[in-house]
Amino acid sequence: MPHVLASLPYFVAGWLFFCGLYGLTTSRHLVHAVISLAVLQSSTYMLLLGIGYRTGGTAPVFVDISPGRLTVDPVVQALMLTDIVVEAVVVALLLAMVVKAYEKSGSVSPSDLRTLRG
């Protein structure tokens, strides 16, 4: 494998993390901040995908192949799988807080949440 590609998924994961943080710090809309958080969370999927992949490996589903075949790592895939579904509900919880904050204060800007000021 060419040397340029040897760390590419790790770079992409770090880049997505950076993008999510950028969106969070500069957001002027609470829903925008929540979506940025979802992008930030997807960086972990990229990292795990990069770690578990193996050149020439196939998926660990043994319906039509014999168990001796070289496969990619099933453990990191199991880590990702539940997290993706739970992520959607956690995003729903955060958005419920956003809706509530909007109903109380009439604003969606994070800088208008005066009670959060330290």
């Binding site: 196939t58 998926a59 589903v61 319906v63 039509d64 192949i65």
Partner: protein, 83 residues
């Protein structure tokens, strides 16, 4: 490297104009790009299933085909009524 893989790559390379449609412009323009994207990804997944010679993977494009119908209606309706 077999021919199916090349075919899948050719279909999936159509995602680049879709990315342009989805990531710039008004919401309606983006919605058109999104529908095209789900069609192209369904096709690409079918072809990659044949290329990898793993038949159980065919469940995924099937799911995407079914879910994208509901997804399209949801997006269209919310854009029309509520947003």
């Amino acid at each position: 490297m077999n021919w199916w893989l090349w075919a899948g790559i050719a279909v999936a390379s159509c995602l680049i104009p879709c990315a342009d449609m989805c990531l710039r412009g008004s919401p309606e323009r983006r919605l058109v790009g999104l529908e095209m994207t789900s069609i192209i990804i369904t096709l690409a997944m079918v072809i990659f299933t044949i290329a990898f010679e793993r038949i159980p993977f065919i469940d995924l494009p099937l799911t995407l085909a079914i879910m994208s119908f509901g997804g399209a209606l949801v997006f269209a309706r919310f854009l029309e009524h509520h947003l």
